[in-house]
Symmetry: D2
Subunit: 139 residues, 4 copies
């Protein structure tokens, strides 16, 4: 399918609609079926021992699927997360950014479903995986 938003479109959309998280995320790659997003890890994402917090990993999974859905349906659709199931598998590396690899498995009229692997940058084994469902309101 043809994407309705480019990487630059998505970045601009984020900056204007979600100023609270501006600067936290960078889109590394965008394809017809998926997206790769970097989370710039800063002090407020950390927990004792330098590891990245669970809510931060959740936020990265959530924003990744959100952006992938948005790229397919366009900026007018205000998709909202309805479900996320996330498995935390390994402790993220201290001081490393997190990288997500997300793909959309279903884009229906009402629901979109995707899944995500999250890696500490440079590591081969994922620190977390998640499946998410977004509701796409009818226009």
């Amino acid at each position: 399918m043809t994407l309705k938003m480019t990487r630059d479109d998505l970045t601009a959309f984020m900056a204007s609609h979600f100023p609270q998280v501006e600067g936290d995320f960078t889109i590394e790659d965008l394809t017809a079926t998926g997206i790769k997003v970097r989370m710039h890890v800063s002090d407020r994402n950390l927990r004792p021992g330098g590891t990245v917090s669970g809510p931060s990993m959740f936020a990265l999974a959530d924003v990744s699927i959100y952006l992938a859905v948005l790229s397919m349906v366009g900026p007018e659709a205000l998709a909202v997360t309805t479900n996320c199931s996330i498995d935390f598998m390994r402790k993220p590396e201290a001081g490393a950014d997190l990288i997500s690899e997300a793909r959309i498995l279903k884009l229906g009229r009402a629901l979109a479903v995707g899944d995500v692997l999250i890696f500490s940058e440079g590591e081969e084994k994922p620190v977390a995986r998640a499946g998410l469902t977004y509701s796409i309101p009818s226009k």
Copy 2:
């Protein structure tokens, strides 16, 4: 069962171990099987329209089960979240704190399982529900 930590113990533990989130959460109630936690909603928890972000609700669910487990096993056990499945059901009220009601359904040697309802303060219907699993390392 007899709890190993009181509400004051838990509050002090949070302040010393998780300074990043100090002031975000207040334990409203603690019983032998569950806990009630308030999240003080501030600007950085908000999204367009004044609604509370998904990662903030995830953080409240996570901290609630964490504190409930801690109250039962004591401060030496470094429990970590292994899974969370969360359903976002309604838009939180703008300007209202969030209140969790969490209960522990299983406290095993290796795993603890609990579930949580999250409410906008003063509302009857929950905005989110979550089930979480914590891994309890053997000593």
Copy 3:
């Protein structure tokens, strides 16, 4: 709210629409917000050691929420499960029926969300818990 189907309506609906599972389930109780369903455990639900299989517990969780949704929206709506997250917490008792206690937490126009505790009959602690989402097609 007023229910659109009684316990007898639901039982008759199950018998005519799901003959494959007729006799497996009995509705024990039905209220305005929830349902209690018995699974009659038979040999084909069992695993080595006499314990009930995971798919059987999943089936009980699924049918419980399905019937509770149906009681609220009526028989014409062909709701379908879109997500289930289930935690298996204890081994079910050999030779005991399973009893579910399910409640609907949200009944929206497009989605219904509920959760379920599953017990071996006569036991106080649940063997499983699940959260489920059903999609309700627009008419």
Copy 4:
């Protein structure tokens, strides 16, 4: 890593330990990181309209991860499912077998985590996806 059980080992193990489901599943492929399992769809897996039931898809996801874990840890370890989160995305084709593609994302000392895509044979888009956690008892 070197697998501790071959495809034939797994098939023989299933036949002797799970006679209730013998004949339901065939291992199509087994690699160092994943497995492909066929579910032979029969009448008792079906629902009105010829579609495969949710519990049947759950059963395929569950057995797929179970066999993949078993191939890595060997037959003496009695792994049990602790969590499954499954998304039902499309209606399976009537009359077609289901094929799973499962991979193990983490094999720890105490927990294994994997995920699964399920397809109607011959179709490109998955009918379901699931993430599962297995507990591996210490010897």
